[in-house]
Amino acid sequence: MLYFTKWKAALVLLVCALGVIYAAPNFLPKGTFPTEASWMPGKQISLGLDLRGGSHMLLEVGVDSVIRERYDSLTENMRDALREARIRYRGLRGSADGASVTIVNDDDVEKARSLIAKLDPQTVVGGDGNHIMVTYNEKTRREMVDRAISQSLEVVRRRVDELGTTEPSIQRQGEDRIVVQVPGLNDPSRLRDILGRTAKMNFHLINESKTPQQARETGIPPGAVIMPGADDASAGAPQEYLVDRRVVVSGDNLIDSQPTFNDGRPVVSFRFDAAGGARFGDVTSKNTGRRLAIVLDGKVISAPRINEPIMGGSGIITGQFSVQEANDLSLLLRAGALPAPMKILEERSIGPGLGQDSIESGEIASVLGMVFVVVFMAISYGLFGIFANIALMINLILILAVMSILQATLTLPGIAGIVLTVGMAVDANVLIFERIREERKIGRSIISSIDAGYRSAMSTILDANITTLIAALVLFSFGSGPIKGFAVTLAIGIITSMFAAIWVTRLIVAYWVKYRRPTELVL
């Protein structure tokens, strides 16, 4: 156990040297090294949001509503097909689970089934008797969900980018969730506002045959719907509007939007693409004199009267905006609408001040923990304790190096993981040294005691560390944010500490024995 071949010793030293090289950038100012190549040293450990401040949000995309929309349009197609074939039906409706209809005459059922099946090859036509239930097959459903999520990711990315923060991270999690992490954001409510809205903007014509009040009392005219106004009642604007259900121009055609001022009041300008512009011109020229409602997420922002045809494909939205609201609305319109509404499931925000405090206290705790352990080891094992302490330093350097290479994120619990590893890292050496003491007590020679100490402690070290590693890996795979950070450093620490304790101290001890030829073992 005490004999090292030259290349083996060189390998251990090489690993230590690489550790130093990869860990070093963390102690130098950022950007000291170019960081293009992923394997090159120069990268620093990235700090978690709890250390540098920022916001973390877990969002759930309402994929049900996307599926629901698809079933609604399928329902429309079914209606057309059945009408055309003069098949009588009732109870035609779409839901998030499928589109269903009941055929009145038994004789028509077969024909209806084949008609419906032809509408969309991706559907499965089920149901029994006169009742027909149409659902999309699993593959299509999955595709719809995937598309909705990837579109949402794209829109969220554009919206967050507009905030102008550095290195936001936007990732899909699980089937229908998105994790947004924005470092260094001082005001999480802004992020909340921006992400919490679908921002689907459409233009509808106001139905002027009745006031909303009359419509409520005498019945809503066909093809119309009552929509609430976007402003608070205090603003003096009407609370409800009666609008035509039909979307005359859709916000999908918007290509730009900017906050600006009109008569000293904040407004939002918009511009359509060619197709949208033509359509907008057409609608405004045919309906001059009528009122056009600008509807955002089911609420009417404003309903100006069309005084003249608007041909240029651009216009402005006036409303009861504050400057901030005008900014946000134009941002949302620029970034585009989400395909489905999103819910914020979880939000965690840390102010930069607290992050800095945590870094400082983490540093103090790590350094003190180290000092305690180092002093205690030296007192307990003398020279061997110092060997173990050298290994401990190398262990810490290796943890930093591995974390830099893996680009792992260091969090506050992660720092705790490192401090805990410092305490536990000496365990392997303690096991070995205790074993050497025992062997000496039985009366073995120095070299044979050391040899036997390493040999017999090895399986114990492995067993003990593997069980802890199991716990760390389970923590990693089931834990969320903060726990993951802890598990990462713990797992890395276990592996590096085994290397440091077994190889590094053994190398040191081997050379010590070789060159000093000790006659007594003070342990």
Partner: protein, 312 residues
């Protein structure tokens, strides 16, 4: 300078003689913990319950009563307000609001508005009901999975008695640590759960070291009584057990004292867990081997190997 030996070299404590006392002590602790867990219950943090947490810094020393009156009148249910750390550091916690995620969001905005501009919000956390219950499930699941995996590993490496004894000892540690959280009323959150799992890993680590020695001695001293052999194993590894626990505790105490408020509950759980884990690997896990009737059964083939080991 002669190195300090925390445990005398010729230590020989008859642990097994008083094992009945350990059983009684451990069993009653476990029972008390269990009863308290089901009657009083854990003080779950918002990670598991859902709700809102705000850490704020007021201008000048915080007026907790005024804050309480201010936020209590918002109609958002229970508002817990607690001063900690510096006199201007305040922790505000709101219970989960009725309704879905939107209701939580609205409550957060209401509170933020009510606090006004005078205070700076250093940390805000909002956990919706859905995530809360998911985290609870995932947490329980991860505890069970790691227990099972550890048991399988020990079973592969040792005889089944060792596996069962180590997991019983592990459960003992986890249950009593949870019991401490019930008694102290310290909040139980995700970080605490991580701490408990780590305690599990540590406790097993400790136990395995002793078991390793027992296995070795069983091959070496074939005529020795089991209780005597267990005592010898515990005593020969006692120095290591104490040393490692002590260095780990040293590091943790530094973390507890200087690591800041955010991880104090976490380090507290670790410190207590390591104490109890050390106790259990000495006083619970090894004596349990007698209960599970560990017997030496070395197949014929291994005979020669054992001789060899002795000869070394």
């Amino acid at each position: 300078m002669k190195p300090l030996h925390m445990v005398p070299d010729d230590v020989n404590i008859p642990f097994l003689k008083v094992r009945k006392l350990f059983y009684i002590f451990s069993l009653s602790m476990v029972i008390v913990s269990g009863v308290l867990f089901f009657t009083k219950g854990l003080n779950f943090g918002i990670d598991f319950r859902g709700g809102i947490l705000l850490e704020i810094k007021t201008e000048g020393p915080a007026d907790v009563t005024a804050l309480r009156n201010n936020l209590g009148s918002l109609g958002l249910g229970d508002v817990a307000i607690q001063q900690f750390g510096e006199p201007d550091d305040v922790l505000i916690q709101l219970q989960r609001q009725d309704g879905d995620e939107k209701a939580q969001m609205a409550a957060l905005e209401t509170v933020t508005k009510a606090l006004g501009d005078g205070v700076s919000i250093r940390r805000s956390e909002l956990v919706g009901p859905k995530v809360g219950s998911e985290l609870k499930e995932a947490g329980l699941f991860s505890v069970l999975i790691s227990l099972a995996l550890i048991m399988i590993y020990i079973w592969l490496r040792f005889e089944w008695q060792f596996a069962v004894a180590s997991v019983v000892a592990l459960l003992h540690d986890v249950i009593i640590t949870v019991g401490l959280f019930v008694v102290s009323g310290i909040q139980f959150d995700l970080a605490t759960l991580a701490a408990i799992l780590t305690v599990g890993g540590y406790s097993i680590n400790d136990t395995v070291v002793v078991f390793d020695r027992i296995r070795e001695f069983m091959r070496k001293y074939r005529k020795m009584d089991l209780p005597e052999l267990l005592d010898l194993s515990i005593n020969t590894t006692l120095s290591r057990t104490v040393m490692t626990s002590f260095t780990t505790l040293l590091a943790l105490i530094a973390l507890f004292l200087f690591g800041g408020e955010a991880i104090r509950g976490f380090t507290f759980a670790l410190i207590f867990g390591i104490l109890i884990g050390t106790y259990s690997s000495i006083c619970v896990a090894s004596p349990l081997l007698i209960v599970f009737k560990l017997r030496r059964k070395i197949p014929e083939g291994e005979e020669s190997k054992t001789e060899e080991a002795n000869a070394l």
